[in-house]
């Protein structure tokens, strides 16, 4: 069924060179070897949540190369192609270099000065606050902002403007993992980390194409497997066979949405065959169910699991796996000397995302595969600073900095005191979560929003619905970004931001690890670091709203130069005042310490002395985690002191199978799932501008199982319409034994309107985490035409 090269060329040769996207061609072959006069600058990769350490080579004020840092325990020197090339964005001719403004969205943008831009931004927010109240303004940030940026933005919104309408795109990717960790372990973020990968004897990878979405971690797992082919087992559970499956001993291909059954069936095997860890359960666990977290007995749990026999569940999973497959993987999981589970969006972006997280965590609690070497329940994070910035520094509507819930008065007061703002200044009610925020733009309840470093017009599910609201003139939109996006198209005011290595700040990756990137080159034109933009905006807001408390929020940062002193002062305030005494204590991770460490610091790290050892590799373990020692209440080696569980226990949850929000029917007979491809990052505004990366995957495809393709009469390269109840796409087909029969899969990076798959996906969300179910919806598939020449597209 393969399309021949000649066929492809025939269809594409008709296009002239001039009609192609104007890619900026590389002018030099990159060199990672130093020459005299070159300088190498400390930082991390700009892209995924792995957090690879890099050094940027600078020659005559311009970047010329990048290299991995061999001493860093994140990546040991390795980089994927995105890490190798992202720095090409630094000098790109498409960069936004001046503030741009238009009063109405039908008008063309005009270049304006920073003075005018900051005034317009302050007036827009102040006017809305005066006429519609504080909750009519909102901030929507990103897991790609520096921690200092997220922290300062949310401080101005909460302490200054008195609203908790603070959100960010991590709501779309890891909110379910947060909910899962808090409800299972009583504390957010993983107990262990990457160092477990080289010690693990079993990997359970579910709902993650690690090979493409977290490439350098995948290489570590690959190496562990290939070096120990007989003693290390890799289980890959996913409705789609992917590159990750290449190292798997067993691929469990389950029907989309049957994951809860599969995980319960594994638990049932562990119980029935007595593979659980009796001592671990007796010392550390309780069983709970329902909205009230009611405690139940072990026998009630056993009874709950009765329907999940491997035989019954193999059928529910769609018939591609057998009961014996389920038994075998459950035994591998339980019996190994150390098991690490890894998951990502396939589990999180589900309407039962929190429950699915709980059921993975259950397997670790039952078997005691936690807290010891080579064992962890490790949620992979998509973005480079979703954990450090958004999860830890108060970037979501229901959390304040330092893992503090907004709806807890004591916690709010601690923050108010730290900021020196009046007690009661921060509203008690959490703000609007992401989907609610954009629904409120549609309804006119939110009248001004600041979108920072993300493109919701492309990345929200069912995006057409929300674009309608953003297009209207009754919501004033400010965007800070480095390139035009589908969202800057809808803005009134575009503010040019400094890029990675053009400013200084901290990223915190998947494993509780904070690392610093130092400014190495100047930003182009008038582009500015966001921390400068927010500070200057806040000063003007204070005048326009005649509110000295807003001015007070940035008083300590006034007059500091923005390349180093300003972010350092913000980091110091956040870490010293707001992480002190919290589980995410980062007081030891000062800028000077971060600048000395090969690979940053893992919290908790209460003192510089602790931080200089690298911090805490395993939470909750006495002798490894300083808080486990200082908060110890008994002689047991593990102390689960997390803030969410007063009983200091791990909770095994009774969570029943529940269907996705939309399942195929006669009218929409296929499942659609979406995901990432290795060469591109999110909405492609960066990676699409690097010729090497663009050419590797210039546009989105739809993957169709060969059996389905045969029934539908679809040949490779044919143009196929995917239609849901919400919208449609027209995509070239890849015929591939990836997705299981009855399911198609599409990439989500393409900016071209007819290939933006989030016009098709569904916007229902998990009632607990409020994370939408991007991964599953029902669609029709129809062959529209034979292969057509396709142009890559970038705004």
């Amino acid at each position: 069924m393969k399309q021949s090269r000649r066929d492809f060329l025939k269809t594409s040769a008709a296009l002239s060179a001039a009609s192609y996207l104007g890619v900026q061609l590389p002018d030099t072959v990159s060199s990672a070897l130093a020459a005299e006069g070159d300088s190498w600058h400390r930082g991390t990769c700009r892209l995924c949540g792995v957090g690879c350490r890099v050094e940027l080579g600078v020659r005559s004020g311009k970047p010329f190369a990048i290299r991995g840092v061999a001493d860093a325990r994140t990546n040991y020197g390795f980089l994927c192609m995105k890490g190798m090339y992202f720095w090409h964005c630094i000098g790109h001719t498409d960069r936004l270099t001046h503030p741009l403004y238009r009063a109405k969205k039908s008008e063309a943008f005009k270049q304006i000065s920073w003075d005018e831009a900051l005034d317009i931004a302050a007036t827009a927010f102040a006017d809305v606050v005066k006429t519609h109240g504080s909750d009519a303004v909102a901030y929507y940030g990103s897991g790609q902002c520096l921690t200092e940026e997220t922290y300062l933005f949310q401080k101005i919104m909460r302490g200054g403007l008195k609203t908790n309408n603070v959100e960010g795109n991590p709501r779309l990717c890891m909110a379910s993992a947060v909910g899962g960790y808090l409800s299972s372990f009583g504390a957010d973020e993983p107990i262990g980390g990457y160092s477990d990968l080289e010690k693990a004897h079993c990997f359970f990878i579910i709902g993650s194409n690690t090979a493409e979405a977290h490439p350098v971690l995948f290489r570590r797992i690959m190496r562990r497997k290939l070096d120990n082919p007989d003693t290390v087992k890799v289980i890959n559970a996913d409705p789609r066979v992917s590159q990750t499956s290449r190292i798997a001993d067993k691929h469990l291909q389950f029907k989309p949405g049957s994951d809860l059954s599969l995980l319960n069936a594994m638990a049932k095997v562990i119980i029935d065959e007595k593979l659980y860890d009796t001592d671990f359960l007796a010392n550390y666990a309780v069983f709970r169910q329902g909205a009230e977290s009611t405690e139940v007995t072990f026998s009630e749990y056993v009874k709950f699991l009765e329907p999940y026999t491997p035989e019954a569940v193999a059928k529910i999973c769609g018939g591609n796996i057998s009961a014996d497959d389920i038994r075998e993987v459950a035994r591998w999981f339980a019996n190994s000397k150390g098991t690490v589970s890894l998951w990502c969006m396939g589990i999180n972006q589900r309407i039962q995302g929190v429950w699915a997280n709980n059921l993975i965590n259950n397997l670790h609690i039952l078997t005691g595969q936690l807290c010891k070497e080579g064992a962890d329940s490790l949620s992979l994070t998509g973005q480079p600073n979703a954990c450090g910035g958004v999860r830890e520094a108060g970037g979501l509507c229901h959390i304040l900095p330092g893992h503090r819930p907004v709806d807890n008065e004591k916690m709010r007061n601690q923050v108010e005191e730290a900021w020196g703002v009046p007690i009661g200044r921060i509203p008690a009610k959490p703000g609007r979560h992401t989907m609610d925020m954009f629904a409120a733009i549609n309804s006119g309840a939110i009248r001004a929003i600041w979108v920072n470093c993300t493109s919701p017009a492309q990345s929200l599910p069912n995006c057409d619905l929300y674009i309608k609201g953003m297009e209207k003139d009754d919501c004033f939109i400010i965007c800070t970004d480095i390139f035009p996006t589908r969202t800057t198209e809808l803005a009134n005011l575009i503010l040019p931001a400094a890029f990675h290595f053009e400013k200084t700040g901290v990223y915190g990756c998947t494993e509780r690890r904070s690392q610093i990137t130092l400014k190495a080159v100047d930003a182009p034109g008038e582009a500015k670091p966001e921390v400068w933009i927010v500070r200057e905006w806040a000063k003007r807001l204070a005048v326009k709203l005649d509110d000295p408390v807003i001015a007070h929020c940035v008083k300590d940062f006034d007059n500091l130069e923005e390349d180093y002193a300003l972010p350092r002062a913000i980091w110091d305030e956040y870490t010293q005042k707001l992480t002190a005494g919290r589980d995410s204590d980062l007081r030891g991770a000062s800028y000077p310490v971060l600048e000395r460490m090969a690979d940053g610091v893992q919290w908790p790290a209460l003192t510089e002395e602790q931080a200089l050892t690298g911090g805490t590799v395993k939470k909750f373990v006495k002798g490894l985690d300083p808080l486990a020692d200082s908060l110890s209440q008994n002689d047991l080696p593990y102390q689960f002191y997390g803030p969410a569980h007063a009983d200091r226990k791990l909770w095994v949850w009774l969570r029943a199978q529940a269907d996705p929000s939309e399942v195929p029917d006669a009218e929409y007979p296929f499942y659609l799932s979406t995901g990432r491809i290795i060469d591109h990052w999110h909405t492609m505004s960066m990676t699409g501008r690097v010729p090497e990366l663009l050419r590797a995957n210039p546009y989105a495809h739809v993957e169709i199982n060969p059996e389905d393709a045969k029934e539908l009469g679809v040949q490779p390269g044919d143009m196929v319409e995917i239609r849901s109840r919400r919208g449609s796409n027209l995509l070239p087909a890849k015929i591939y034994e990836g997705p299981m029969k009855g399911m198609v899969f599409a990439y989500w990076h393409d900016q071209e309107k007819s290939r933006m798959i989030n016009r098709v996906t569904k916007d229902d969300y998990d009632p607990g985490s409020k994370e939408p179910e991007f991964k599953i919806c029902a669609v029709q598939i129809r062959r529209v035409a034979g292969p057509k020449p396709i142009k890559p597209f970038l705004l």
Binding site: S19, V29, N75, E212, R695
Partner: protein, 116 residues
């Protein structure tokens, strides 16, 4: 055929703009199947290190990668490496298996460096 010409010219044969958007491996699976198979089975293939990461793209294409290309990921090996031998004299292209005695001045233990 393509590879042969390229080896002679040290540059990639002219491609139409449309052809430039075909991933390298898609063509080379057909035109140089033995190289593709070797790469695909190697650590680079399983770990998804793509052709362009070593050979560049059209405008900066090189048949034989430079030591600098290796250095983006293997900078430490460069430091520990005898400069008089190119990587390819020991590491077989596309399978990357080392032949003969190591030319690296210092070897790095498995535990220190888990993911080579």
């Amino acid at each position: 055929m393509l590879a042969l010409q390229a080896a002679e010219q040290e540059q990639h044969p002219e491609l139409e703009p449309g052809e430039q958007y075909i991933p390298c491996a898609q063509c080379h699976q057909e035109v140089t199947p033995e190289l593709y198979t070797e790469w695909n089975a190697s650590l680079h293939g399983i770990g998804m290190v793509a052709c362009y990461q070593c050979h560049g793209t059209f405008e900066n294409f090189r048949v034989t990668p430079l030591a600098q290309d290796c250095a983006a990921c293997h900078a430490d090996r460069m430091d520990a490496y005898s400069q008089d031998q190119p990587c390819w004299s020991c590491h077989v292209p596309h399978s990357f298996k080392a032949e003969g005695a190591s030319a690296h001045k210092k070897e790095i233990s498995e535990n220190e460096k888990p993911a080579q």
